[in-house]
């Protein structure tokens, strides 16, 4: 016990010096929180530079921190991308009714902050007959009694999981990257909050925690993934991960938005599997991708299952 304490003190002193050397002296160091956990988290390595044992250690520390904060057990998974899988998403614009159940299913699944409110999905509304591909006439804020409305149609937008993601290219710290299954993920412990990725994203898919995320403990989904829906921090960026905690799990579940859609407008599958629903719809339906002129090569396909 004594030894441990000594160890911690030494660590603190050493790290303090290192911190000062890094030019952080100007930033008020939270000395009152100068415990091992704080400095461990401060010196935590980049996710992809850690070996399995180190990741395990980090995850158990984070689970402890979350348990303390939310007074309940939260598990953090680290399922790796499955070989031979490249996830793709389909959205049937002829079916979407603008109910936005997907938006809130996503919030509940992925532990987004309720205050300030963070949504990963934006359902744009367009007046029929107006120009719409440029998105300039879109509306984000509308609250009708019932949907769908006669004169409108809807287009949900979320992270398009680009094959050529501008956000990944722009990130100065490599805190965001594209995994082999095509999902663009963020290490919330590595993001410095510079928001260059948000400037780079052509789809408005990235969200910033302008304040400390606020979500009551009873509303926390305890089944999380390190790169997905685990609780986030103030000052970091987050985004849709195709529900990495579900889609990479052994059961292979659909993303929450796919399950929540009452009209079956949302499709999901493996683009590398010739028998998948995604491959079928790309082959047989009229598909397009958003802002294709930017060459981001999204894996998010909009299509029209039937004319209307």
């Amino acid at each position: 016990m004594d030894n441990d304490e000594k160890e911690n003190k030494n660590l603190t002193r050493r790290t303090l010096l290192k911190g000062a050397a890094l030019g952080l002296a100007g930033v008020a160091l939270p000395l009152d929180r100068a415990n091992a956990s704080f400095w461990e988290s401060f010196f935590q390595k980049h996710f992809r530079e850690m070996n399995d044992a180190e990741i395990k250690k980090v995850i158990s520390r984070l689970e402890k921190e979350y348990a303390e904060k939310y007074k309940k057990a939260i598990t953090i998974g680290n399922e790796k991308p499955l070989p031979g899988v490249l996830f793709g998403y389909g959205l049937d614009l002829s079916r979407c009714i603008g109910c936005r159940r997907c938006v809130y299913a996503c919030v509940d699944e992925n532990n987004q902050s309720l205050d300030p409110q963070i949504h990963w999905i934006t359902v744009l509304r367009f007046k029929k007959g107006e120009k719409w591909v440029s998105l300039e006439e879109s509306e984000k804020y509308y609250n009708p009694e019932t949907v769908p409305q006669e004169d409108y149609f809807y287009m949900p937008v979320q992270c398009q999981q680009c094959e050529n993601p501008p956000c990944v290219k722009s990130c100065p710290t490599q805190a965001t990257w594209k995994d082999p299954d095509g999902i663009v993920v963020i290490d919330y412990n590595w993001c410095i909050g510079c928001r260059y990725c948000m400037a780079a994203c052509p789809y408005g898919a990235r969200r910033f925690n302008w304040a400390a995320p606020n979500r009551p403990s009873e509303k926390i989904n305890p089944n999380t993934h390190y790169l997905g829906n685990r609780p986030r921090y103030k000052g970091v960026v987050e985004k849709c991960t195709f529900c990495v905690q579900r889609t990479r799990s052994a059961q292979g579940r659909y993303p929450a938005c796919v399950e929540a859609c009452p009209v079956g407008a949302r499709k999901f599958g493996n683009l590398l599997d010739p028998e998948s629903e995604m491959r079928y719809l790309i082959k047989h339906k009229r598909v397009f991708r958003l802002k294709e002129d930017l060459n981001t090569n999204p894996k998010f396909y909009y299509f029209f299952a039937y004319g209307n």
Partner: protein, 415 residues
């Protein structure tokens, strides 16, 4: 060793001891620094939500100030080129003060980036070797390299020259010559890389125009030297430093050319956007005329345009350029004009309308403005302290002891 410590105390004394005006000025700056620090602590506690930035407009006043100041820092090169390459004597003698300004401006740039970060404690993640710098893919990584490199180059040059002068010797061009040559493309690079930072984003049509980097440089060569003209007049009034009118008028002439290019490039851009009239003109429409009833930037940008054109005429005509009343007017006009145009006028329309077509109007909040003022005050204080040390060394009033101690004197200058 003893020598170094002794010299350090001479320098320290030189900075610490001044007259009433000096202390009053430092107290004035300290007041605003304190306000800024207070606001920043609030931001550290509550997050960037205390600013008006949101997901739609994710960069604002901080990054605007950063962009303007990169231009000021880069402009030091404008003085270096004629001074060393063409050996234009009157300017050569004042290059030192330009370089000290560059050091202060870069320091402010770095501070503006720091306060804009959501997780400032993690700044080490961006460093090479210790962190995982995304070099060469990310332009922000490039910016870290060039800005810190520029700070280092200018610091080395300025302090070497000061050191040599302080021991009563002429500095050796063989030592800093290569660094001075290097600093010229480097100054161009800091502003080019900063322009590319925005320029490279295909998601933002307002920035994604190849004219952006040339426009950045042209406007930097207006505002930076204009600021220097004002500062030089203050320096020469408050100290014994002699700065020839010839040098000041030469710089003013250079500003006229830079402003001509700046206005031409602006015209080219305005023509392309409005004549072709594609939806990519929306941000520019927002900037100059307002969009969907949101038009808070409109009066500002027209104000800046009028200031820039007026200043251009004042700089262009030898009569007004060589009259200190009109010259100073023109300088102030250019500084304000470029500050608006290269600051908020450049950053905000990049985000309006946002990538999904929403028009979110951004106006900085009071805490945000206080933090920015605090950083400006820190920059002003740094420049003041640097000058307090550099000026008497430059005029020969303060001499360090070199080698065997000879003639040790740490005299203070009279204002």
């Amino acid at each position: 060793m003893v020598q170094i410590i002794r010299n350090f105390f001479i320098a320290l004394r030189q900075i610490a001891i001044g007259d009433k005006k000096y202390y009053a000025w430092l107290a004035f700056l300290s007041f605003f620094i304190a306000l800024g620090v207070y606001s920043y602590i609030g931001q550290l506690n509550r997050g960037l939500i205390i600013t008006a930035m949101r997901d739609q407009v994710s960069w604002g006043f901080y990054i605007s100030n950063f962009t303007f100041l990169v231009g000021v820092a880069a402009a030091a090169v404008l003085l270096v080129i004629p001074a060393y390459i063409y050996n234009f004597k009157p300017i050569k003698e004042i290059v030192l003060f330009g370089e000290l300004l560059a050091i202060s401006a870069i320091t402010m740039c770095i501070l503006f980036i720091m306060v804009d970060m959501g997780q400032p404690m993690r700044v080490w993640h961006i460093l090479p070797f210790i962190g995982t710098m995304n070099f060469p893919a990310s332009l922000l990584a490039w910016d870290v390299v060039v800005l810190n490199g520029y700070l280092a180059i200018n610091s080395i040059i300025a302090f070497y020259v000061l050191y040599r002068l302080s021991i009563g010797k002429e500095y050796k061009m063989s030592v800093i010559g290569p660094l001075i040559i290097l600093s010229i493309p480097w100054a161009v690079s800091i502003h080019t890389v900063t322009a590319f930072l925005y320029n490279g984003l295909s998601a933002r049509p307002f920035w994604n125009a190849s004219i952006l980097a040339p426009r950045f440089l042209a406007s930097a060569f207006c505002s930076g030297p204009a600021l220097m003209i004002v500062l030089f007049q203050i320096i020469r009034k408050l100290s014994e430093v002699e700065i020839e009118n010839k040098a000041i008028f030469k710089i003013a002439e250079l500003i006229a050319y830079a402003m001509a290019i700046n206005l031409f490039l602006l015209g080219a851009e305005v023509f392309k956007e409005f004549y072709s009239g594609s939806i990519h003109a929306e941000p520019m429409k927002y900037l100059y005329f307002g969009l969907h009833g949101q038009n808070k930037l409109v009066p500002w940008i027209w104000f800046a345009t009028v200031l820039n054109i007026t200043a251009f005429i004042l700089f262009l005509l030898p009569k007004t350029r060589e009259n200190f009343t009109t010259l100073n007017m023109a300088c102030v006009f250019v500084i304000i004009g470029v500050y608006i145009e290269k600051g908020m006028g450049l950053i905000t329309p990049g985000f309006v309308p946002d990538t999904l077509g929403e028009v979110y109007e951004y106006t900085p909040t009071t805490p945000e403005i206080l933090v920015a003022i605090g950083i400006w005050a820190i920059g002003a204080m740094l420049y003041t302290l640097l000058l307090k040390l550099a000026v008497p060394i430059y005029t020969g009033r303060v001499r360090f002891a070199a080698g065997r101690s000879e003639g040790l004197q740490g005299q203070e200058i009279k204002h």
